[in-house]
């Protein structure tokens, strides 16, 4: 029993020992990292791919965008989103050719342009991160390119290789990466799309497939297989030749798919024994960007360290109105990156993530629904701001509308809700009025979203503010704001469609609408009940067909749906990237494309073909306006909402500006480590009273039990 007395003391001592030389007890990071310029962030889902040819998800780009350097990038501060050079020394020089490869003037009409040639000149000062793939021995040969099983015996991570090296980034590396898009073992998601544009890429896929089958197991050096549409001009210049005119191609040049890949890296990882150790290019990137992946444990944390070979990029010296006042130009002209290290910790659950942010152990955080009321208060005028509790901690809020559209689609092939007939169109319009997305945003998203008037979100060319931009089939413009039409107008439309009071005129049976969804269970019940209630407003019955993800996708592919929830995140800030979702040639059932509602309208398709290759300007806007009018009239989607992102950041984090297109923003961030340490110390001092009280209670209880027992023994 005596030992019980010492339990609280022992516990205290152990805790003190664990707090590492006087650091805070609840600090999850090593004491040695205190006061350093480290940015702490979190990720909730481990990335699947870190190969720039196959990665295509946001949770992969948060790492890759810091590591790889495509030729272009988005300006950090300017809005609307604008491309600027990154690895390129200037914006690509674009020239146009006719069918006979003769030059055309810059203003040649799109239908005359047979080929576009993008000439990209790279900055000569780019170097790769330190990596064993570049290490050379005394003879100047690559040191780790003929590894044996014996050499690999004690190798478990890249850090186990004693030497590393680097080299200049060459145009050949960019060409090599474009060829990799066609590699049969890589499965690049954009090879299908790029094969339609890059000259010779379609045939190149077959060439590489045949080469792989001819030499199974052998490393395929893509430099040995020329690709017609990609040419090296000199060490730092290359050309890409694409079919026709495709202005959006420049946006692709800002994505990791077009980042450089040194052949040494691919050859290094292709050696026998490397894959068994998880040493693969898909897991250990080799880039020339501001950071490199120094620790890769996706079950715990991913660490990016400053690339010592990175140079030549500075903080922008111009932005949009208000940036200077917001302090976003205070670091203008300073060499990037401004932070030495980035630690991404895995946080699967929102509660620990949120509490660690409040304790100062994450520098910025999103807001889950559970924490929304604690973090944000919305004023009478609808302006969101942080609560007094957050203000007291110096926490600031940034909001931005995502370049995404979350919508409910009608299947155009469905005999009830689909097709261009007046009956079906009026039915769809009636449902569009009845489903009150403003209410949905208010109830289920804490107001974080704006109701969509078309597929195009704000910030993308073609989006119109104000009255000109509203969907007048669903909204009226009242007192300077859109107001959803009254429900009696929806009922009227329904009656005109042949369903008065929700009853089919012919059969006198109630009209039943089916929603296919992957959501099910208690968590989503309220949303589905809400949706049922919306349709009940016009006396329609909604039947929810919940299914698993595979069956849902299968139904969409086969067109076996009536209504469904879907969403789209922009690949690039161009209206074409949203309007193609309703292009007939993209029909999911007919063509296996991205038009999940299988909408088909020849007039719309014709306008789309005209619009897609145009430069932004009044003429393009006019065509987009016409297209949107057709879409609003036909109502193939309930336009849904554009979500709003709310991000909180601590006072010590500077240069944080939401940029929904770019993911390489970490290099611009700046931390004030001294302020962070001071505030963390103030917020996280351990409270010892409960420990002592608990210890005393334990001792008292033990003593009392001992006494009772002793008395019982005496009584025997």
């Amino acid at each position: 029993m005596k030992c019980l007395y010492y339990v609280p003391h022992a516990l205290l001592l152990l805790l003190l020992g664990a707090c590492n030389e006087g650091g805070l007890w609840n600090n999850p990071y090593p004491v040695n990292d205190q006061g350093k310029s480290i940015y702490y962030s979190a990720f909730s889902e481990r990335p699947k791919h870190l190969d720039p040819a196959s990665a295509y998800s946001e949770n992969e780009y948060i790492f890759l965008a810091q590591i790889y350097q495509p030729p272009l990038q988005y300006h950090f501060l300017k809005r609307p989103y604008a491309l600027v050079p990154q690895a390129a020394s200037a914006m690509p020089a674009v020239s146009y050719l006719d069918q006979s490869n003769r030059p055309l003037p810059d203003d040649a009409p799109a239908d005359k342009v047979a080929f576009s040639v993008y000439e990209i000149r790279l900055r000569p000062d780019l170097h790769y991160q330190p990596h064993p793939a570049f290490a050379r021995n005394a003879n100047g040969n690559l040191e780790y390119h003929a590894l044996t099983a014996r050499d690999l015996r004690n190798i478990h991570t890249l850090n186990d290789f004693p030497h590393s090296g680097t080299r200049n980034v060459l145009a050949a590396d960019y060409v090599y990466q474009i060829k990799r898009l066609a590699h049969p073992a890589i499965h690049s998601p954009i090879v299908g799309l790029m094969s339609e544009y890059i000259v010779g890429l379609k045939e190149y896929v077959t060439t590489l497939q045949q080469a792989k089958e001819k030499y199974p197991g052998r490393f395929l050096n893509l430099h040995d297989y020329p690709l017609e549409g990609v040419q090296i001009v000199d060490d730092h210049t290359y050309r890409i030749k694409i079919h026709g005119k495709y202005p959006q191609f420049s946006y692709w040049l800002a994505m990791s798919f077009f980042a450089p890949m040194p052949v040494e890296a691919e050859r290094f990882y292709a050696q026998p024994g490397m894959a068994e150790r998880n040493l693969v290019l898909d897991w250990w990137p080799v880039g020339s960007g501001p950071y490199y992946l120094s620790e890769n444990d996706p079950n715990r944390r991913m660490v990016l360290a400053r690339n010592p070979n990175f140079s030549g990029e500075t903080y922008p010296d111009e932005g949009e109105a208000g940036d200077r006042e917001a302090g976003l130009l205070a670091d203008a002209g300073k060499p990037l990156p401004l932070i030495d290290k980035v630690v991404f910790s895995l946080e699967k659950e929102t509660i620990p993530y949120w509490n660690k942010f409040l304790q100062g152990y994450y520098d910025a955080a999103g807001i889950s629904s559970d924490s929304f009321d604690q973090a944000v208060q919305v004023s009478v005028s609808g302006e969101a701001n942080v609560t007094d509790e957050m203000k007291a901690q110096g926490i600031q809020l940034s909001t931005s509308v995502a370049t995404s559209t979350m919508y409910m689609g009608f299947n155009w092939l469905d005999p009830v809700v689909g097709g261009a007939s007046e009956r079906a169109t009026k039915l769809r319009r009636a449902i569009s009025i009845a489903v009150d997305f403003e209410e949905f945003i208010s109830i289920f998203a804490n107001g974080r979203g704006i109701s969509a008037q078309s597929p195009i979100p704000p910030g993308i060319f073609g989006y119109r503010e104000g009255e000109a931009g509203i969907n007048h089939y669903v909204y009226d413009w009242v007192n300077g704001a859109p107001r959803r039409k009254a429900i009696h107008e929806a009922r009227q439309l329904l009656a005109e469609a042949g369903y008065p009071d929700g009853l089919d005129e012919k059969t006198k049976q109630p009209l039943v609408i089916y929603l296919d969804t992957t959501v099910s269970g208690v968590g989503s019940k309220s949303r589905l009940d809400w949706l049922r209630k919306q349709l009940e407003k016009i006396n329609l019955q909604l039947v929810v067909r919940s299914t698993d993800y595979n069956r849902f996708q299968d139904k969409i592919r086969k067109g076996d749906t009536q209504m469904f929830y879907f969403g789209w995140n922009a690949d690039y800030p161009d209206p074409e990237n949203f309007l193609f979702l309703l292009h007939g040639a993209q029909g999911k059932v007919a063509k296996g494309g991205e038009n999940a509602s299988n909408y088909h309208n020849p007039e719309y398709d014709h306008l789309f073909e005209r619009m897609k290759n145009m430069e932004n300007g009044p003429e393009r806007q006019k065509i987009i306006d016409e297209m949107l009018e057709i879409l609003r009239r036909d109502a193939p989607w309930i336009w849904g909402q554009h979500p709003k992102d709310y991000v909180l950041r601590h006072a010590w984090l500077h240069n944080s500006k939401p940029n929904k297109m770019a993911n390489n923003n970490v290099k611009y961030l700046r931390i004030d480590p001294a302020q962070r340490e001071e505030l963390r110390n103030r917020w996280n001092q351990p409270k010892l009273a409960p420990l002592w009280l608990g210890g005393l209670a334990l001792v008292f209880l033990a003593g009392w039990l001992w006494r009772v027992l002793w008395q019982r023994e005496q009584a025997r």
Partner: protein, 325 residues
Amino acid sequence: MIAYLIRRILYAIPILIGVNLLTFSLFFMVNTADDMARMQLGMKRVTPEAIEKWKQQHGYDKPLLLNLHASGGKVLTDTIFFQKSARMFAFDFGMSNDGRNIAREIQTRMLPSLAIALPTFLAGLFVYITFALMLTLFRATVLDMLGVALCVLLMSVSSLFYIIGGQFLVSKLWHWVPISGYAEGMDSFKFILLPVLIGVIGSVGSSSRWYRTIFLEEIGREYVRTARAKGLSELHVLFRHILKNAMIPILTGVVVVIPLLFMGSLLTESFFGIPGLGSYTIDAINAQDFGVVHAMVFLGSVLYIAGLVLTDISYTIVDPRVRLQ
């Protein structure tokens, strides 16, 4: 005993084949190889050619159980089932759908799981048995009644409540340990303290009640009366006689779980950011990664069988009358 062990190992082979077949059948009743490919290749711009290539590269372009286009033994061997199952028996788990070595992943994640599970198991065993012995010692008193009521109360609370409540009190309010995270070596202490504490407290109710029942059953036996008649103190009787004789039922429930400690705990590891095996299977089911699901179910079965064999062996240690033949 050697013959007994060999016989148990031979019995395990058909069980493991059955488990393999069942896992395979259940998985492919819900998923197809095309679904797996789509899940891996992503939502956007996936072409049918890409799906075919993925299946070919990952060995999912073969028939599931019977290859009727093949001849001879290949009817059975040139199938997804055989190709993916046969190597399991050599503990070659192959690669996951995202190209990682499954065996290496299990090896890496096993240690953090064990770092939580082993102390929780040992500390839990100590606390539950001590608490149950105390209740037995004060049986049929107010203290016993209060103890049992406390056990029932603790049993009624969800484990999620213990985790969230524990994190709120200990980490958020009192700032004693980090809310979540993990480190290796001695630095791991402050990260595992709270999950272990919560793990122990979370099972106090059910486990202590179970041990109390075992001890109460023993306390009415003849040898206990004899010991008391010899004038031994109650504590002596409890620790030297009752505890020793209650070992067989205790071991039956305890030893079988020892090998499974490696498999981790889903909730604890998710909330505390422990990079263990707890969520590996669930994540793999969500990602439709048959390789990982298959490997984890196989490993779980092997460990469970090992646990049962260890339980049998442990009987011979605590009770000399038991012989394994």
